[in-house]
């Protein structure tokens, strides 16, 4: 862990703020997410505070701060899906698996994110699990669907 980060950091000289985003991108690519430990290392290297690194990272939607789960759920909250009750599905889903967007369940079974539009508005509301689109979602359908992913 430490070595991977160190290797990434070593490639990014000078220690300038401008290099922060590329470092974060490499870390995300290598580790799948930005962990508190990585941020500590980066903070010491660049002498930029942890909160400010986190602030920068959360400014971009590309960064995750939790390890990916075995299955990735992306829930669409684009206009069409929103109108068709997407956020109701999201609330139900949050209640079911107990996490908010951006988080991963403790048992690492699921991670959850919201997306803006998956490009199949006709099928709204839409949920994507591991790159597979599930259309015309309802709360009941969703519950059944989740059972298929262990």
């Amino acid at each position: 862990m430490k070595d991977t980060i160190d290797a990434i950091l070593k490639k990014h000289i000078p220690k300038e703020k401008g290099n922060l985003i590329p470092v974060l991108q490499s870390v995300q690519k290598k580790k799948g997410y930005i962990s508190p430990e990585s941020v500590n290392r980066i903070s010491n290297y660049f002498r930029i505070s942890r909160s400010s690194i986190y602030g920068v990272a959360t400014f971009y939607s590309q960064f995750r701060f939790n390890p990916p789960g075995r299955h990735s759920i992306k829930i669409c909250l684009g206009t069409a899906c929103h109108v068709q009750g997407g956020d109701f599905i999201l609330k139900a889903l949050q209640a079911e698996i107990g996490i908010s967007p951006g988080e991963t369940t403790d048992d690492m079974r699921f991670d959850l994110d919201r997306v803006a539009c998956l490009g199949c508005c006709a099928l709204a509301p839409v949920v994507m699990i591991n790159n597979k689109i599930h259309s015309r979602m309802s709360v009941i359908k969703l519950k059944e669907l989740l059972n298929k992913y262990e």
Binding site: S49, S51, T58, Y60, F65
Partner: protein, 805 residues
């Protein structure tokens, strides 16, 4: 400001001509002329942020509406601050800001009548309007709404649905009230350098937060409270005094917890401390304090366990008695123990006045020179050394740190012991100054260091010695030639090995010090609370002498309690009469006998340690303790033990009479801080009826014992007595002596043990010996691990993690 470099230019603001130096902002120029421009994100002395746009102005020949806080003035600018157009825009801006804020109460026509009927509903957990907000009545949004006469808001209130945080120690957070002015973020990063807060998330969800949403404590919050002080809304609120309402008085006094002696403002209502913080409505440039200054006074002065009546122990039970009874009881006993069997041990948190009267009582009336302070210094002579040093080198002031080009911090946990010193170190680091930190373990200061040295535990003296050796070899002055003789046959490699620091690292430090124009050396507990404290002191002074920068190189000795130096100059030292006059000199005995119209006993005084040890041999039979001393089995053998304190402690078990004592916010007096400046402490609340100061207690005792010379009516009487004998401005002394300090480097490297028998935890978080972690649960929360962790990991093992009396 420097006259030569600043050039004044003139501008017109609202038709008024104003002269101000180049670089002044429109806002500053207007404020200087007494012209009000509304602001929300602006903070005095911090880089302007230009975020809220409420300070917009019109400037002739400039397009759009520049923000006054970010626009510098230019010659002949014509500025308008209050055109109808501007006010309209400001109202719109404020409306937008408030659209995400519980604004109903703000624009309610009944708002002024509502307050008095709503007192209980205020404690609901979610703030839905001013009447449910801790900020009510002291809120910049309310002020702005009033100023801009905003009576309606066209947008519906969008509640942010952020869970209020109520689990943090000392303060609550409710970001639903946050208007994103960024003051907290900026003060935490740019003034306190704690770097806990930042804006996180994006778009609509932007909010102030910590990394990964950690709790404040996990994110490294130092609980200085600066963010609360500057927050214009109720988003950040202190738990204590939260629902007390608007203070009716604010009084400035001096913090005595550590020797920085910060100025503090205390807000009071109905003789209770509401909080320590800026006066109501005065947020943009608050005094900077640390967690102790900010949160302790309110918690401790009104602590439920505080003792507020005199107590006498009868058949192992405490009986509450009147002052008269307690005084009579004490007088009867004390009469039997005059002479060398009596002793006084006091606290360096007490004022100059109190400690002066206390030692005078012991020496003049009780005829005993057994007076001492509870301290962690294994060698009492260190304070004498420091005093001597001050007579040759003007003591540093705190701003010397900010201005130094190189700062060398040795053996100090400055962020805990002297946080405002730490703050200046960090400020210097951020300004690109060179920071060198040396300790046995990494500290928070290490993060700011260019060079971070770790030496082995208990090896401060060998570390300093190797520095001296390397530095000395590069010099050929009188002193270094003498030293070279001493260093003859000196095995430097062995010393490097001893302290665990490489020659390379030592060379690098020496180089930095030699290249520095005005270095500051900060010596902490690791140096002073050390069996080699005197050796370390001498080595440091030698280093300074060889650096040949007597006026610009400063050594700062970090004494812990607020009034250690002041208490010693007041005479609370077994070997020293007031004014650092050696007791061993007959001349001084005569001088003080004359001063006090008495015949002083010339028997050498015992230190606190010796007193406790001598109890066993019946050398000491009666003790008067102000504050607390570590428990010791001998104490049970005392014939008579008096304690004056705010709380019962472990010691109280052996105590016969207990007098309740005032805290520093309840009495007048002075302390002398580490800059050797006299600072005034001022009463902010009246003590409970039966709580008295040390000087009142002692004067009562002395009068009951028919002794003259204790007819003080008020602390000022004592102060003028001290001042008539001792020059507390130190003006004469600086002129008098100028010869070089006699320094001897003892170059032998032997292992020494602390010459102490009674070991107590060296805890910065105590007041009058009372453990603040025990008394204040929130303090335990934030420091529990840190304090125990630091003492085990600290410099000289059992030595620096511990102290003696």
């Amino acid at each position: 400001m420097n006259k030569k470099t600043t050039q004044n230019i003139s501008v017109q603001i609202d038709g008024k001509t104003i002269n101000a130096p180049v670089g002044t902002t429109v806002l500053q120029a207007a404020q200087k002329a007494g012209i009000y421009i509304p602001t929300l994100c602006y903070l005095e002395n911090i880089k302007p942020y230009g975020g809220c746009r409420l300070c917009i102005v019109e400037i002739k020949n400039m397009r759009a509406y520049p923000t006054a806080c970010t626009t510098p003035i230019a010659q002949d600018m014509e500025i308008s601050t209050k055109t109808p157009e501007l006010q309209k825009l400001r109202r719109e801006i404020l409306e937008l800001i408030l659209s995400e804020h519980p604004y109903t109460c703000l624009i309610c026509i009944d708002k002024n009548n509502c307050n008095e009927f709503m007192t209980t509903t205020r404690k609901v957990s979610v703030t839905t309007g001013c009447n449910f907000c801790a900020n009510n009545g002291n809120c910049e949004l309310q002020d702005l709404v009033e100023y801009l006469e905003l009576t309606e808001i066209k947008y519906p209130w969008a509640y942010k649905e952020i869970k209020p945080e109520k689990n943090n120690p000392f303060y609550d957070i409710d970001y639903n009230l946050c208007i994103l002015c960024g003051r907290c973020v900026r003060i935490c990063n740019e003034v306190r350098y704690s770097e806990v807060l930042d804006f996180v998330q994006r778009g609509n969800s932007v909010i102030v937060g910590t990394a990964f949403g950690e709790s404040q404590k996990d994110a490294g919050c130092e609980f200085c409270g600066a963010c609360i002080d500057v927050c214009p809304t109720g988003s950040l609120s202190e738990k204590m005094g939260k629902w007390v309402g608007i203070p009716d008085k604010s009084i400035e006094t001096t913090c005595v917890f550590c020797s920085v002696g910060c100025k503090m403002n205390i807000n009071i209502k109905d003789n209770r401390i509401v909080n320590v913080g800026p006066k109501p409505g005065n947020r943009t440039n608050p005094l900077q304090l640390c967690v102790r200054g900010k949160f302790v006074p309110g918690d401790i002065m009104f602590h439920p366990e505080r003792i507020t009546t005199p107590l006498i122990k009868k058949e192992n039970k405490w009986i509450e008695v009147s002052w008269d009874e307690a005084i009579n009881f004490t007088v009867n006993k004390l009469e039997q123990y005059r002479g060398n069997q009596f002793g006084v041990i006091s606290s360096a948190h007490e004022s100059l006045e109190n400690n002066y009267v206390l030692q005078k009582f012991s020496r003049k009336l009780m005829k005993s020179n057994n007076v001492d302070l509870v301290s962690s210094f294994p060698d009492k002579n260190i304070i004498k050394k420091i005093h001597e040093y001050y007579t040759h080198h003007k003591p540093a002031n705190i701003e010397n740190i900010t201005n130094a080009d190189t700062i060398f911090v040795i053996g100090s946990q400055t962020n805990l012991s002297h946080p405002i010193i730490e703050n200046r170190i960090r400020k210097a680091a951020k300004n690109g100054k060179k920071i060198i930190v040396a300790n046995t373990h990494d500290t928070r200061t290490s993060y700011f260091a260019e060079q971070n040295i770790l030496y082995k535990q208990g090896e401060e003296h060998t570390f300093l010695l190797s520095l001296l050796f390397v530095l000395n070899n590069k010099d050929s002055g009188k002193l270094s030639n003498e030293l070279k003789q001493e260093f003859n046959n000196f095995d430097i490699e062995k010393v490097f090995k001893h302290c665990g620091v490489s020659r390379q690292d030592i060379e690098k430090i020496v180089k930095s010090l030699l290249n520095s124009k005005n270095p500051v050396i900060i010596a902490g507990d690791g140096i002073l609370i050390n069996p080699y404290s005197i050796f370390n002191f001498n080595t440091l002074v030698n280093i300074q002498t060889i650096l040949k920068k007597p006026e610009t190189c400063k050594i700062i000795f970090l004494l812990n309690e607020g009034n250690f130096y002041g208490s010693t100059i007041a005479g609370l030292h077994p070997d020293l009469l007031p004014g650092f006059d050696e007791l061993a000199s007959e001349k001084n005995i005569k001088k003080w006998s004359d001063n006090w119209k008495t015949d002083l006993n010339n028997t050498k005084g015992l230190s606190g340690n010796e007193m406790v040890n001598n109890i066993a041999k019946d050398g000491i039979t009666a003790l008067f303790v102000v504050g607390d001393i570590p428990a010791h089995p001998n104490l049970a053998k005392l014939k008579f033990l008096v304690q004056q304190n705010m709380f019962l402690t472990e010691l109280s078990e052996h105590v016969h009479v207990f007098f309740p004592i005032t805290g520093f916010t309840e009495t007048n007096g002075h302390i002398i801080n580490l800059e050797r400046k006299l600072k005034e402490i001022i009463p902010v609340t009246a003590p409970a009826k039966d709580v008295k100061t040390v000087w009142e207690t002692i004067s009562n005792l002395a009068r009951a014992m028919q002794e003259k010379g204790f007819d003080y009516k008020k602390p000022e009487d004592i102060f003028s007595e001290i001042n008539s004998f001792i020059d507390l401005s130190f003006a004469t002394e600086e002129k008098a002596k100028k010869e070089i300090l006699p320094v001897r480097a003892d170059v032998s490297v032997k292992k020494k043990k602390l010459p102490v028998e009674i070991i107590s935890e060296n805890n910065y978080f105590n007041y009058l010996g009372n453990d603040l972690l025990e008394l204040i649960p929130d303090m335990e929360d934030i420091l529990g691990e840190v304090v125990s962790g630091s003492s085990s990991g600290s410099s000289s093992g059992s030595s620096s993690g511990s102290g003696s009396i």
